[in-house]
């Protein structure tokens, strides 16, 4: 795979960041990222959302949770998604290129905390996938042992467990009433996780789709 990003006479803004997952179909750029511009109309779709900004926050549960989000929940705020990934850890997902702004915003909000708080940009350390469509739950159930029923895992909930044996954060984040899951894991497991989900979705006619207009 060529690694040089120079092409033609250099008049096009070249991407400097790539997901570890080989792009499905044709590619384009979004901010500094190379992203897939494929478009699938399948009832079940898998997209690589790694170009999203990702910020990890750690701090004392009692002080930080009321200001960000409860553990096992996810909350949307100003075009970003705040996920409670553990009793004392949070992950903020935002549109690409926004990690500095998001980190700033979170840091200033938590400035009053007396316990140690850390805010770290982990954009380039992890991958984000989105599995959406009617049979998303059934496909995910094949590779994850958690109860995904609406009662146990309703829209707006999150958990950390194994997905296809890979430790991941899963957020139930429906899009316009369409069941949808965001799955976040370490970058090094990205391709494997993507392939495993594509494989699990095969029987439901899964389609690989590109980075969407509406990012988060």
């Amino acid at each position: 795979m060529p690694t040089s990003t120079r092409r033609g006479n250099g008049s096009v803004a070249e991407p400097v960041a790539r997901s570890p997952i080989a792009p499905a179909g044709p590619t384009g750029t979004r901010g500094a990222w190379e992203v897939s511009s494929a478009h699938s109309k399948a009832a079940l779709r898998l997209a690589d959302m790694t170009a999203l900004s990702k910020v990890l926050v750690r701090g004392a549960p009692g002080e930080v949770a009321p200001l960000l989000c409860e553990h096992l929940r996810a909350r949307r705020e100003d075009g970003s998604l705040i996920v409670g990934t553990g009793p004392d850890s949070w992950l903020v997902l935002a549109p690409t290129g926004r990690s500095d702004a998001v980190s700033e915003m979170i840091a200033s909000r938590l400035r009053g905390c007396t316990s140690l708080v850390t805010v770290i940009d982990v954009t380039h350390g992890s991958v984000v996938l989105r599995l959406s469509g009617e049979s998303a739950r059934r496909a995910l159930e094949k590779v994850c042992a958690i109860d995904l029923s609406d009662r146990a895992t309703p829209n707006g909930s999150s958990f950390r467990s194994r997905v296809a044996a890979v430790v991941s954060t899963v957020v139930r984040d429906d899009v316009d009433g369409d069941p949808s899951y965001l799955i976040v894991s370490d970058r090094s497991s990205g391709q494997f996780l993507f392939d495993a989900l594509a494989d699990a979705g095969q029987e439901f006619g899964i389609g690989l789709t590109g980075y969407p207009e509406q990012e988060i």
Binding site: H71, G86, P87, L116, S161, R162, V167
Partner: protein, 98 residues
């Protein structure tokens, strides 16, 4: 496979956790070598209820305390592990966020 109700995450398969060991109090720095080795090596290893630590590696990433029956493998109670327990009064529970 047994199921362990994580106090932070809810019921999970035991393969999400790493077994750490029996609950023991760590002696302070002024302990004798013999006392220190007893702490390191001796195990009560009961056939029955025991209190032990597990680490929720594939979940919340927290250490927890579980009461488990070593014959039936039933887990009857779990709770978060308090931070930095020491037997000597001098070493107070330490700070740090995680």
């Amino acid at each position: 496979m047994i199921r362990i109700p994580c106090p932070h995450c809810g019921p999970r398969n035991s393969d999400e956790f790493s077994y750490i060991g029996e609950e023991k109090r760590r002696p302070g720095p002024d302990t004798s070598p013999t006392e220190w080795r007893t702490y390191l090596y001796s195990k009560s290893n009961p056939a029955g209820w025991t209190t032990e630590q597990w680490f929720h590696a594939a979940g919340c990433g927290k250490f927890i305390v579980a009461e488990r029956h070593t014959v039936t493998n039933e887990v009857r109670a779990t709770r978060p592990k308090p931070r930095f327990e020491r037997s000597n009064a001098g070493a107070e529970a330490g700070g740090g966020s995680s």
